[in-house]
């Protein structure tokens, strides 16, 4: 295809000769992908509506209004309680669906804007012709993009076309949230699914761009183990910390230190996904922690310089950092904090100002920001070390005596944490109550302004827990990136047959209902049972933050492959696209189905054949809303934690309604055949980790399971139910199609029970939910 390049270059120079004319050549795709184009490349809102309605007909939207009101236009506030309608005619169900759509649009836009920034930055640096190279074991390099957009991106410049398409779709979906647009909750849901699908596309674009452009691990199951935890930072060195999700400036910090040969003289670390990506760039960088550590960490005063980029950064960062004399450098137009734009000022001036106590600067040139961050830290770390950021223990006790045990803090706390009691015992000299609070605390900080005595609750908690904080040192396997084609070739068959009982992905943020550690516990349960475990984002960090008796984290105990009994940390939030991507790669690589522009067939494949289940235990964000519904459209169920019921909407199946669980059997002339509630839900909120574990096993069951596969899945399901619920599940018979499905160990007992309930054998179909395939695949 060199001929084309040549001609284009020729054209460019030819045109350039003609003066005064603005010429850009934007979107020439050179595509070497030979797969035939499917029916739905670059789908618009309505293209996949039929598929959405198939899903939504089984998995009905379940709405939990978070407010009775709508306040989105000046006719409001409108009271939508029960049967009432708003001044625009909307009802409470449609309003919840609309809010979910709005949030998903925000989520997809956030990843989209991030991807755009990353791609344009790398194009500027490397050129739009820079090859997207994910290594020799990855040829299906962008499964979401390939299946949705219908192209295989080969060069960075190709991603522009992907983003152009994605941005158009996000704008289209967002427009539907305007007053007086969509009137049906089902169609709002369909639009949420659409923008959720787009979200995976743009996440993928962002991550393959940064992998290829920044040299991150390329699906490396042996990615290095890196340090994580509040206790990992060597406080004798200058400390530069990046907070957010966009690692561009972070890489410049590392580069600057490398250039100065001082990487070992300065502590570079990160909070939230930027931290993941920092370690993907440079393995000696440290992960301080996830979202719920931000406020604690800033307050600790350990950082000399905090560099914020974008997303999930506490909005009071500048205010809080200033209190402990930490310099703040804002580096993204998403977060400017009202700071003066110093992008074009001389470096030395900015460095001097920040070193002299100017609280912050906005620097939109990443290279300059990187240098300034390092130089400022080098200059101020010495004198900052004397700073006392937290009250000492005596002071904590004294402060605690001010508490009048009014209970306002507890009532405001999203977790209802027992602060008043802890204060009371602290006042008497026993700080253990405060330490207990630390274990569960989300670090959200809302208790403090609620306190009528103005107690610095978090600082008291942090000092009380100081030993714990110092001991927070763990190992995390750095984000490996996508799943290899070779891995897919290995695990594709057992996944589809069911003999690998499931793929469980722990993803999302840190808004837990009951402390941390739950994720590691859940993950280990499935690792021991040889499920494939995947992790990303804050969840991947959280899993690292628990050691066993031997002082080992799961990442040390289990390999990083995408394989049974392994745990693969794919990376930061945008790497979530590799999880949906792995599901898409199975039909492509193992089953040799065309994926190009072929959304419905692939989603139908995943829904019926791939026992994958996402667990987003602490999700709080709009990005996570988009990711979840994007998974759902692909046929991947998602379990969320209890707080996520505030997303306002779930997709629940009704296993008690038999009619909902029929599919077409391709090998029986398209006959409708009952397959049971497999999977039972598409988006489901679990109250406790115990419930979540049992439900995870259940949601990995698929119509296509072979008897051997079903037997394995059922035995885990039954076993887990007995372990956590103290009894067999009440619904297991519905999953038994033939006696061979029964776990061998319990076979006799179970057979007896089956007879009692009048069980009749069923059939293992070649399942599809798409009528057009009911007689024959393609």
């Amino acid at each position: 295809m060199n001929g084309i390049n040549f001609k284009i270059e020729e054209l460019k120079s030819a045109l350039a000769e003609i003066g005064g004319v603005d010429v850009t050549i934007g979107s020439i795709i050179e595509d070497t992908w030979e797969e035939a184009m499917g029916p739905t490349p670059m789908p618009s809102i309505d293209t996949l509506r039929t598929w959405d309605h198939i899903l939504l007909n089984r998995y009905k939207p379940f709405y939990s209004p978070f407010c009775d009101m709508c306040c989105l236009c000046t006719y409001g506030k409108c009271d939508l309680t029960a049967g009432k309608i708003g001044a625009c005619g909307i009802d409470i169900g449609a309003q919840q669906a609309r809010m979910y759509l709005l949030s998903s649009c925000i989520g997809a836009a956030t990843h989209g804007a991030h991807a755009r920034h990353m791609v344009e930055h790398l194009i500027e640096k490397l050129g739009s012709d820079h090859k997207i190279d994910l290594g020799r074991f990855i040829s299906v390099n962008a499964p979401n993009i390939m299946a949705v957009v219908g192209m295989r991106p080969e060069r960075l410049g190709d991603l522009r076309k992907v983003l152009d398409y994605a941005e158009e779709q996000i704008v289209q979906c967002l427009s539907a949230t305007h007053t007086g647009q969509e009137g049906s909750s089902i169609d709002f849901e369909s639009k949420s699914m659409h923008v959720g699908m787009i979200d995976h596309v743009v996440m993928e674009a962002a991550d393959i761009a940064q992998i290829t452009g920044c040299g991150f691990p390329k699906g490396d199951s042996d990615a290095p183990l890196v340090e994580i935890g509040m206790g990992t930072l060597d406080r004798s060195k200058p400390v530069v910390i990046c907070v957010g999700h966009n690692v561009v400036t972070g890489t410049e910090i590392v580069d600057h230190l490398m250039k100065k040969d001082m990487m070992d003289k300065v502590e570079v670390g990160g909070l939230c996904c930027t931290a993941h990506d920092l370690t993907r760039y440079e393995k000696t960088a440290k992960v301080v922690g996830h979202l719920s550590k931000q406020l604690y960490f800033i307050r600790s005063g350990v950082a000399d310089v905090i560099v914020v980029d974008e997303q999930c950064v506490r909005l009071d960062t500048l205010k809080e950092a200033t209190k402990v004399k930490t310099a703040v450098i804002a580096t993204s137009d998403k977060i400017c904090y009202g700071l003066p734009d110093r992008t074009n000022d001389p470096r030395q001036e900015i460095i001097k100002d920040l070193a002299n106590g100017v609280p912050g600067a906005l620097i939109l040139d990443p290279e300059k920001a990187g240098e300034v961050a390092v130089e400022v830290a080098l200059r101020i770390s010495e004198k900052r070390r004397k700073l006392k950021a937290l009250p000492d223990k005596k002071e904590v006790m004294k402060l605690a005596r001010d508490c009048n045990v009014c209970g306002e803090c507890k009532r405001t706390c999203p977790l209802d944490l027992p602060i008043p009691g802890a204060m009371k015992t602290a006042a008497k000299g026993d700080l253990n109550g405060l330490v207990d609070v630390y274990d569960l605390c989300l670090g959200c900080g809302v208790c403090e302004p609620a306190c009528r005595r103005d107690l610095p609750i978090l600082n008291m908690v942090q000092r009380a827990a100081e030993r714990k904080v110092k001991e927070e040192k763990y190992l995390l396997r750095s984000g490996r990136g996508p799943i290899l084609d070779t891995e897919i070739r290995n695990v594709g068959p057992p996944i589809v047959l069911g003999t690998i009982p499931g793929v469980v992905a722990y993803v999302g943020c840190a808004n837990y209902s009951k402390g941390r550690g739950a994720l590691a516990e859940m993950a280990e349960e499935f690792l021991r049972r040889r499920y494939i475990v995947v992790a990303s984002g804050c969840a991947a960090m959280d899993i690292a933050m628990r050691k066993d008796e031997d002082g080992k984290t799961l990442y040390e105990k289990y390999p990083g492959d995408f394989d049974a009994g392994c745990i693969a940390n794919v990376g930061s939030c945008v790497a979530n696209s590799h999880i949906s991507g792995a599901c898409i790669k199975i039909p492509s690589i193992f089953a040799r189905r065309n994926i190009r522009g072929n959304y419905e067939e692939i989603a139908d494949y995943i829904l019926n054949r791939i026992g994958a289940c996402g667990v987003a235990w602490g999700v709080y964000s709009q990005k996570a809303e988009a990711i979840a519904v994007g998974c759902n459209r692909w046929g991947i169920p998602v379990i969320v934690g209890p707080h996520a019921s505030k997303y306002r909407r779930l997709y629940l199946g009704r296993k008690d309604i038999e009619d909902d669980w029929y599919v077409y059997d391709v090998k029986a002339k398209g006959e409708r055949v009952f397959v049971g509630p497999a999977p039972e839900h598409l988006m489901y909120a679990s109250e406790t980790k115990e419930e979540c574990i049992v439900m995870t096993a259940r949601l990995c069951i698929r119509p296509n399971d072979t008897t051997k596969g079903r037997m394995i899945k059922l035995s885990h399901y039954l076993d887990l139910s007995e372990k956590y619920f103290g009894t067999l599940p009440d619904d297991w018979p519905v999953f038994v199609r033939t006696e061979a499905d029964l776990p061998i160990a319990k076979k006799d007992v179970l057979l007896g029970e089956l007879k009692e309930v009048g069980w009749k054998p069923g059939r293992i179909p070649d399942p599809t939910n798409l009528e057009r395939f009911k007689l024959k695949w393609r």
């Binding site: 009775d68 009271d79 309680t81 209890p642 009704r654 008690d656 406790t688």
Partner: protein, 181 residues
């Protein structure tokens, strides 16, 4: 303007400036709750996993729940892993399922109830995690006009139709009321 349009009402100048039902507690006593349960045609207890941990007057909430269930015949759904606690105590609930599943069925006016005797008309929640419980109650409030909801909790739940704000004494009183006649 007619006189009627100028009536003074002791409420927000316009409906809808608070949440629909306002933030005013509709709090009832154990006696009233007892009577409401007894009067209901098809009441239901939804008992959640917090019962396994919470204590009132030193006694496990789970024990109060079992006493309630045994004092007066009302079907029980154990949610989440609460089932384990009940079974360990030798009490067999009518059913167990996740909180969202029972709410999903309760909002369906066609559902036939836990004992297949018809959809319930009164639901009493005890021991469900507050944030999730509140959302479920919100679902019922908007989409299940056929039933009334009551929470048993140390806090008042605005999305419930009524709340009883408990301590050990009130729980004892409730069981007592249920046992009577």
């Amino acid at each position: 303007m007619a006189k009627e349009d100028n009536v003074s009402i002791n409420r927000s100048w316009q409906l809808g400036r608070g949440i629909g039902k306002g933030d005013m507690p509709r709090v009832i006593s154990p006696e009233v709750l007892g009577k409401l349960i007894k009067k209901a045609k098809r009441p239901l207890y939804v008992f959640g996993p917090s019962l396994l941990e919470a204590k009132y007057n030193g006694k496990l909430a789970l024990d109060y729940a079992i006493e309630m269930a045994e004092a007066h015949d009302v079907p029980v759904v154990a949610v989440s892993h609460a089932i384990k606690g009940f079974l360990q105590k030798g009490f067999e609930p009518d059913a167990w399922m996740p909180a969202v599943n029972i709410v999903d069925r309760l909002r369906d006016s066609e559902w036939n109830g836990i004992r297949k005797e018809g959809q319930h008309d009164l639901v009493v929640l005890f021991g469900v995690f507050c944030a999730l419980g509140e959302q479920g109650l919100s679902t019922l409030r908007h989409f299940a006009p056929h039933l009334r909801t009551i929470t048993i909790c140390p806090r008042y739940h605005p999305s419930a139709d009524m709340s009883i704000i408990i301590d050990g004494e009130k729980l004892n009183k409730l069981v007592e009321t249920l046992r009577r006649d």
